[in-house]
């Protein structure tokens, strides 16, 4: 009975903490400058992109180096549809289009990748496919604008009232992240999600339980692609610009970094990871601006790189993993003190 009560209080505490955090996120935008609002909106959207990657890397044990295909296509589709008609209906159409595109693309990719077998082979094949897609986009000027990119033609996205202001964009991005978190969490907790975890642990055993592991991996790839594509469409509204960078390996590595920093196998890790990756890049760029005299600060990527190396060395399971480890350590320390 006491144990039940204890679990109850933990849940109440957890809910209270989450509610407080949510309230904080709802209040702070009113005290932020535009640049900060944009940064936070990006954090929320890239968090979803990171979650989409976590479904593959953290839950299925599959490295996709072509994830940016879906993110970048989402950005393009967002800009293209909103350029046709600058309203909510067009935005919803873009979302529908990206779901269809990503589902079909994820399915096709799974047909190619799952044939090759190993994790490394899959990584290489997806890397190649990603570069092919980026090259096609670069040459297909009439649609993508080539290397110049494709700007959103309207200075304001008139999805009144949500996107007409940066605060609106902030709330819309936050809502998007929360909805996607709930959906993806439900997916992870579903029987299918559990099978994916078993595949990550020991694929051969999963097969001997009668699971057709390739079908499950296909489902994971499709769900992940759709999530990445949707985050791309939202990103288009915040960035108001599409170019082939969003399709490149750089943006796939961004997703990888987000899961690396935040921790894999916990969707929440992607939120922390996204915040850190976005923040540290902005922070170091600012540093260069604030201290123009220091030559070293002119190369912010030097610091970013070193930071990632240190992180992987000392927190191999990311920040979420580090938090869990600290919590375990604290708990064992507490029980030791009691006895």
């Amino acid at each position: 009975m006491d144990k039940l009560k204890a679990i109850g209080t933990i849940n109440i505490r957890k809910t209270a903490a989450l509610a407080a955090l949510l309230a904080l996120f709802l209040i702070i935008p009113h005290y932020m400058r535009n640049a900060q609002l944009i940064m936070f909106s990006r954090v929320f959207i890239l968090a979803v992109y990171g979650m989409s990657y976590d479904i593959l890397r953290g839950y299925t044990g599959f490295i996709n180096l072509g994830q940016a295909i879906f993110f970048g296509s989402g950005v393009y589709l967002g800009v293209i549809f909103l350029n046709m008609q600058n309203n909510l209906g067009s935005f919803v159409l873009a979302l529908g289009a990206v779901i269809l595109f990503s589902a079909a693309g994820g399915f096709l990719l799974s047909r190619i990748v799952l044939r090759t077998g190993g994790v490394v082979a899959a990584a290489m094949v997806t890397l190649a496919i990603g570069e092919i897609v980026r090259n096609i986009a670069e040459r297909w000027r009439s649609v993508t604008g080539g290397q110049d990119g494709l700007p959103l033609r309207f200075s304001r996205v008139a999805l009144d009232p949500l996107f007409s202001t940066r605060v609106g964009g902030y709330y819309f991005s936050l809502a998007f992240m929360l909805v996607m978190l709930l959906i993806l969490r439900a997916f992870i907790l579903s029987p299918t999600g559990r099978v994916l975890m078993s595949i990550r642990e020991n694929e051969q055993r999963a097969r001997f339980l009668g699971y057709q592991t390739n079908r499950y991996k296909t489902i994971a790839l499709i769900v992940s692609s759709i999530a990445a594509g949707l985050s791309g469409v939202f990103f288009a509204v915040i960035a108001r610009f599409a170019n082939t960078d969003y399709l490149s390996i750089q943006y796939t590595l961004n997703a990888l970094l987000i899961t690396l920093v935040g921790g894999t196998g916990t969707l929440y890790g992607a939120i922390i990871g996204s915040f850190f990756v976005t923040w540290i890049q902005t922070f170091l760029l600012d540093l260069n601006r604030s201290f123009p005299g220091f030559t070293l600060f002119r190369y912010p990527m030097l610091f970013v790189g070193s930071f990632y190396i240190l992180l992987v060395m000392f927190m191999p399971s990311g920040i979420m993993g580090g938090i869990y480890r600290l919590a375990d350590w604290y708990r064992s320390w507490k029980t030791k003190r009691v006895t």
């Binding site: 907790l189 029987p191 999600g193 559990r194 078993s198 055993r205 001997f208 339980l209 009668g210 699971y211």
Partner: protein, 256 residues
């Protein structure tokens, strides 16, 4: 032949020059306890790998309930009702005991493709999981990750995962291998109960004393071929068998 559930016909496989399994023809009777006995390296596990679909035979066919399953994948064979355990413990190390068994039960209940409902809300799967944990005596370890179990407990978990699939034929690859002596009787009890519930069991062993009272039938495999096949008491007295076992050295009371 109505009672034959599993049949191999002239089954052979070679690895390079080594003929690991050589022309093995076996009829496994339904609801019987058959033990395949042989010294180390006799080809027992290889035979299981062929039957369960991990290896493809060079020659011969495998029939399950009169259907040719030679071309099927391992998972198709599992879905058809053939379950197997592994000699080296093969579980999901980071998942809990409960989750390991629940995954097997979930496969049996065929709800794996459910995408949006919480996995804890499937009554049938939960009941099955509890039942199996009770059968393999692991309720007290339900929350432990499989990697933290003792070797013997892992063997039981492994067996539990196969049992949860409710196979018609249960292929057990040395379930007591490496187990502490005091744990062996519980493992035998679990096999007995399963057998009593009407499951056909095919057991691989290399210790003869363990299986003599347990089995209805004893098949001796030496160098990939069947050396003797029949009633356990008779087979264990067979001079050829005794001779084959002298180098392997597990038979009691044998002298030259």
């Amino acid at each position: 032949m109505a009672d034959t559930i599993l049949r191999t016909k002239d089954l052979s496989v070679s690895f390079g020059a080594l003929r690991a399994v050589n022309q093995v023809t076996l009829d496994i009777e339904a609801r019987k306890f058959t033990t395949i006995l042989g010294p180390n390296g006799a080809g027992k596990t290889t035979l299981f790998n062929l039957i369960s679909g991990l290896y493809t035979p060079n020659e011969g066919r495998i029939f399950f309930r009169d259907t040719d399953v030679t071309g099927l994948t391992p998972m198709q064979r599992v879905q058809a009702g053939m379950g197997r355990s592994f000699q080296l413990t093969n579980v999901f190390p980071k998942l809990t005991v409960h989750e390991n068994i629940r995954l097997a039960a979930q496969s049996y209940c065929k709800v794996g493709y459910n995408i949006f409902r919480d996995h804890r809300k499937f009554q049938k799967v939960n009941e099955k999981t509890e039942e199996i944990m009770e059968r393999v005596l692991l309720q007290h370890r339900r929350k432990s990750p499989a990697a933290e179990l003792t070797h013997g407990e892992q063997r039981k978990l492994e067996l539990g995962m196969v049992l949860a699939l409710e196979p018609q034929v249960l292929l057990l690859d040395e379930p007591t291998a490496g187990m502490a002596i005091e744990e062996v009787p519980t493992m035998i009890d679990i096999m007995r109960t399963t057998y009593a519930m009407g499951t056909t069991i095919v057991l691989i062993e290399h210790k003869m004393d363990l299986v003599k009272q347990l089995s209805d039938r004893l098949v001796i495999l030496v160098n990939g071929a069947v050396l003797a096949d029949g009633d356990p008491a008779e087979v264990s007295r067979n001079p050829e068998v005794l001779a084959a076992y002298l180098g392997g050295g597990a038979v009691h009371g044998s002298a030259s």
